[in-house]
């Protein structure tokens, strides 16, 4: 598969003596042709020399790891990095920069951090700054409180594996406030290294059984490929349920039921994952839909995993974020005391965009205490989440209040970020919907567009020739010709015969408009070339 090629081109050889090194380097593109799976030759065979067989080879390694793919960091991104390198070295290209609209990284696209958060974190990092007048009193107060909760008053001390207690308490209070007073117990809060860590931990906890009893996990198509990657790694059974592209990517319980019933033939379905607001699709599920999903989970006895990292990123009129927990409790004790659920949040998205801090949490609801005892063992393996990320989460859930000095600036910055995102969502959606060959569902929330593209048959054939999936072929060409890096829809899952790509709405507005224009031009050329 040529999509693997890029890995090999970039990946240099590990340290070894020259005899085997030369063979590996020279064979770079030939042996990579069949890198995937069982057909890969061992290094020894490739070298043709008599050095001893390695302990760790493609044959002896964990077969589950071989099935892991993560499109957001996959071959196209590797190629983009390579192109950037080449540009840096002075290579001439039809573009002067590579625009990485593949990953939901707001700061990388110029979004500014929230001043208050960075002030408190700087104070936590270097407490001598607490003496400086330039920092507002509310920032200092929060820093002092966080430091008091750290061992030795230092963010360099390990915290408890579940996270610093007073921060978990603050998270609980935030959730209670968000959900109109529904109680949240700090013991049910697990701080984590980004939401990804908590999601993988939960899946690790729940996946078990052999053969036809192997745990099945329901996930939307399209989905954020962390889920498919984790499920492959765990050798869990991935159960796909299709979102309805014709209805703004909404979720239909009938589809859930169809997919579940089919899955029961070959696995033991136990988990239902839902991303709301959606990634890559950007849909914000209606309250009714959320109730239907909860009802379904109860009927079918499924553990619900609600990925809500984009909860503040809601743009479309008439759309509102409804937390799964809130809806669950409003459905009454029949549901709220039985449905088992975990909901996830992160500091990487929303208005903060602080991906690099790797802050996150999950709240577990109605989890059996015996299962919780198992969960704590699992989170102990990683010792503790990064303390700066924990501190940041504390600020997210405990922002400046109206009577505090930093409030005005905070609100101004937050509003500006969310307004900019809303504007960009709108520009992007409109642009794609006026381009021939594209249809784009409303970007109701999150940070992405997932337009459907029409690819001419000739191009599909050409892609097949090259051993590439058509939308990867399309995106690679776009990258090579325009320096725009997107992720092909095949990385997220899509209905057979349809093609998409995911593009973030994050570049600065002016750049975004240029990018959209260039995609439009490219698409025209592409269509003509393959007509």
């Amino acid at each position: 598969q040529s999509k693997r090629k890029w890995f090999c081109v970039i990946l240099a050889r590990p340290y070894k003596s020259s005899q085997s090194g030369a063979a590996a380097g020279g064979g770079g593109s030939t042996w990579c042709g069949s890198v995937r799976g069982e057909t890969k030759m061992s290094q020894q065979a490739a070298n043709g020399d008599r050095c001893r067989a390695k302990v760790l080879t493609v044959e002896t390694m964990n077969p589950n790891v071989k099935r892991v793919e993560y499109a957001v960091r996959g071959p196209i991104v590797q190629r983009a990095v390579q192109l950037e390198k080449e540009l840096k070295q002075g290579a001439k290209k039809p573009f002067t920069e590579v625009i990485k609209a593949n990953i939901g990284d707001a700061h990388a696209m110029g979004q500014k951090p929230i001043t208050f958060f960075r002030q408190v974190l700087a104070l936590c990092a270097y407490p001598a700054l607490l003496e400086e007048e330039k920092f507002p009193e509310d920032a200092k107060q929060r820093a002092r409180r966080i430091l008091a909760a750290c061992g030795g008053h230092s963010i360099g001390a390990y915290s408890a594996s579940q996270g610093i207690e007073c921060i978990r308490q603050d998270v609980s209070r935030y959730i209670e406030k968000r959900d109109g007073g529904i109680p949240s117990n700090p013991d049910n809060i697990y701080l984590s290294t980004g939401a990804s860590d908590a999601i993988v931990t939960m899946l690790k906890l729940l996946v078990c059984g052999e053969g036809r009893q192997r745990t099945g996990v329901m996930i939307s198509i399209p989905q954020y490929p962390l889920y498919s990657a984790a499920l492959a790694d765990l050798a869990a059974v991935q159960i796909n349920y299709y979102l309805d592209e014709d209805k703004s990517w909404s979720l239909d319980v009938a589809e859930l039921r169809r997919s579940l019933n089919a899955a029961r033939e070959h696995c033991n379905p136990r988990v239902l994952c839902i991303i709301n607001p959606g990634n890559p699709t950007g849909q914000v599920q209606s309250r009714q839909c959320i109730e239907d999903v909860i009802r379904f989970a109860k009927e079918e006895r499924l553990f619900l995993m609600a990925d809500e990292v984009y909860q503040d990123n809601v743009y479309a009129e008439g759309c509102k974020f409804h937390s799964f927990k809130k809806v669950l409790f409003e459905m009454g004790p029949e549901y709220s005391s039985t449905v088992e659920m975990a909901s996830f949040h992160s500091t990487s998205k929303c208005f903060m965009g602080e991906c690099g801090f790797r802050g996150g949490y999950m709240e577990v609801i109605n989890m059996d205490p015996a299962v919780k005892a198992q969960l704590i063992k699992l989170v102990s393996v990683r010792l503790c989440p990064p303390v700066p990320g924990q501190a940041l989460m504390d600020l997210v859930v405990n922002p400046p209040q109206p009577d505090e000095p930093s409030y005005t600036t905070f609100v101004k910055e937050k509003t500006a970020v969310l307004a900019a995102l809303a504007e960009k969502a709108s520009i992007t959606e409109q642009a794609f919907n006026t381009m021939p060959g594209f249809t784009c569902n409303p970007v109701q929330g999150a940070m992405y567009t997932f337009p459907r593209i029409s690819i001419p048959q000739k191009a599909i054939d050409k892609a097949k020739e090259l051993g590439q999936v058509p939308d990867m072929f399309y995106c690679m060409k776009l990258l090579e010709e325009e320096g725009i890096c997107l992720v092909p829809g095949s990385g997220f899952g899509q209905r057979d015969g349809t093609f998409h790509f995911r593009m973030t709405i994050l570049p600065p507005t002016e750049k975004l408009k240029i990018v959209l224009q260039r995609i439009k031009d490219f698409h025209l050329r592409f269509t003509q070339e393959f007509s």
Binding site: G156, A157, R270, S380
Partner: protein, 476 residues
């Protein structure tokens, strides 16, 4: 639904760490004190984890200044910060595109990775190090888990196993079990300063025959909890062993900067491997782990660690990359901590004098504590402690009287756990019990972190003496 039956068996198999119980008890005691309960102590001293800042050691000023300036770049205009702090912060910010709120490349910021290779090369007397072999993650245990996951060979008839030391720190055991890997214990020789013996490795490997499939050997050097620092000869022996027995070598070297024995010196597995030349140097597969949590920085909470992979099959490297990419990237705080660890201030830079002073103070503390603590503990009847040449801990053996062992059994507790609980309740000293470390049967130990402020060490030794004397009297 999610009843205990339906949980990943690997997770169920993870042993309950007794330390957790002690930690909860400590929290309870702290709460009681807060509420005004009268005890013989005002606060709990917690030396159960390798957590230097918690033990009163201070972070390095340079590290924190750079970190603060990266977090809040307005500080770059501050007159309080030295020029080299600002330069370093500016350089890091440039490498990440202006904000440490961004994701980075999967394996880490390229310039930081480059810095790591230079550090390793310098450390190893010029032996080359390639950036493609380095992966930074949010803690060395995270790297270790990823490598273990790749090593699991589900296609083999027997379950995958890794030779691991006795005693061994519990996090490693947790990691093995979580990945479904069976530990094959090899015993360190307590009487000889916890030495690693070749014959014992042979015996351990033999014991696995027909039972499980050992694919790797895990060594910790300097040790945890054992305070050994391996000699060059010992390292060579290990390398020959893994070569002959075809084992992947996992070298946990996170304490490489914590050498306190006067005659001890850290030499890396990589350096020795390369110096041994072919066939070893071009075939032994090695993963070496390092961390910003230990050493003179002690920045556990920033979560920075890395692995260097040597002689790993390039095709497998692809998949390792994929695994790390699922985590997206290591935390920026961790990556920065690694950068500052591998690339500290240089003698001609303004921050150097303070950096040097702070570092040396911590080093002196470690050396002083190791000596003082061993002396003090060995004076207590019933205790015997091997010398600590490296690492951050002492692991004294306590010969518990028979009556104490019986009382423990009656209480349903491992004897050293019983001792530790009483120690915590009566004098407010939190240490970790040897039962969490896979010790030799019939022996009991406690592990104490000695990377703490000298005053705290004095106080903990005082409390230990009072308690131990009373305990031994009670149960004699």
């Amino acid at each position: 639904m999610s009843a205990p039956l339906q949980i990943n068996p690997n997770v169920k198999n993870i042993q309950q760490v007794q330390n957790e119980k002690l930690a909860r008890l400590a929290e309870q005691i702290k709460e009681d004190i807060r509420r005004g309960s009268i005890k013989s102590f005002k606060e709990v001293i917690d030396v159960s984890w390798g957590n230097p800042h918690n033990g009163g050691l201070k972070p390095q000023t340079f590290v924190r200044q750079v970190l603060a300036a990266c977090v809040y770049p307005e500080l770059l205009d501050s007159e309080q910060l030295e020029a080299d702090v600002k330069q370093r912060a500016q350089k890091l910010l440039m490498c990440v595109g202006g904000s440490i709120g961004s994701y980075t490349n999967t394996a880490g910021i390229p310039e930081v990775v480059q810095g790591i290779t230079e550090f390793i090369s310098r450390r190893d007397g010029g032996v080359p190090c390639h950036p493609e072999n380095i992966f930074i993650s949010s803690g060395s245990q995270w790297c270790l888990s990823n490598i273990l996951r790749v090593l699991v060979n589900t296609k083999a008839l027997l379950p995958t196993a890794v030779l691991s030391p006795v005693p061994c720190h519990p996090t490693m055991m947790l990691s093995l079990t979580a990945e479904g890997v069976i530990p094959v214990p090899y015993h360190l020789c307590e009487e000889e300063g916890w030495a690693l013996k070749g014959e014992e490795l042979q015996r351990a490997l033999q014991s696995a025959h027909g039972v499980c499939n050992p694919v790797a050997l895990y060594v910790i050097n300097p040790g945890n909890p054992a305070g050994l620092v391996q000699s060059r000869a010992s390292i060579q022996e290990i390398i020959r062993f893994v070569y002959e027995r075809r084992l992947f070598l996992l070298a946990d070297e996170v304490y490489q900067d914590c050498v306190c024995g006067a005659d001890s010196q850290f030499i890396s597995y990589k350096q020795v491997l390369v110096e041994m030349g072919p066939p070893y140097s071009d075939s032994v597969e090695l993963a070496s782990f390092h961390s910003a949590s230990k050493g003179m920085m002690g920045e556990c909470g920033l979560r920075g660690g890395y692995v260097e992979l040597v002689n790993v099959d390039p095709a497998v490297m692809e998949y390792i990359y994929m695994l790390f990419s699922m985590d997206i990237c290591a935390s920026l705080s961790g990556q920065m901590a690694i950068d500052l660890m591998t690339n500290p201030p240089q003698p001609d830079e303004p921050s150097y004098p303070l950096y040097w002073q702070e570092k040396e103070e911590i080093r002196r503390t470690l050396v002083h504590n190791a000596r003082k603590a061993i002396e003090a503990v060995n004076l207590l009847v019933g205790f015997s402690c091997q010398p600590v040449h490296g690492g951050a801990f002492m692991f004294p053996r306590v010969n518990l009287p028979l009556r104490a062992i019986q009382s423990a059994q009656e209480a349903g507790l491992p004897p050293d756990m019983f001792y530790c609980m009483r120690l915590l309740e009566e004098v407010g000293l939190l240490v970790s019990p040897g039962c969490d470390y896979q010790q030799e049967k019939g022996t009991y130990h406690i592990r104490i972190c000695i990377m703490v402020q000298e005053e705290i060490l004095d106080e903990l030794l005082r409390r230990l003496k009072i308690f131990h004397t009373k305990f031994m009297k009670e149960f004699s």
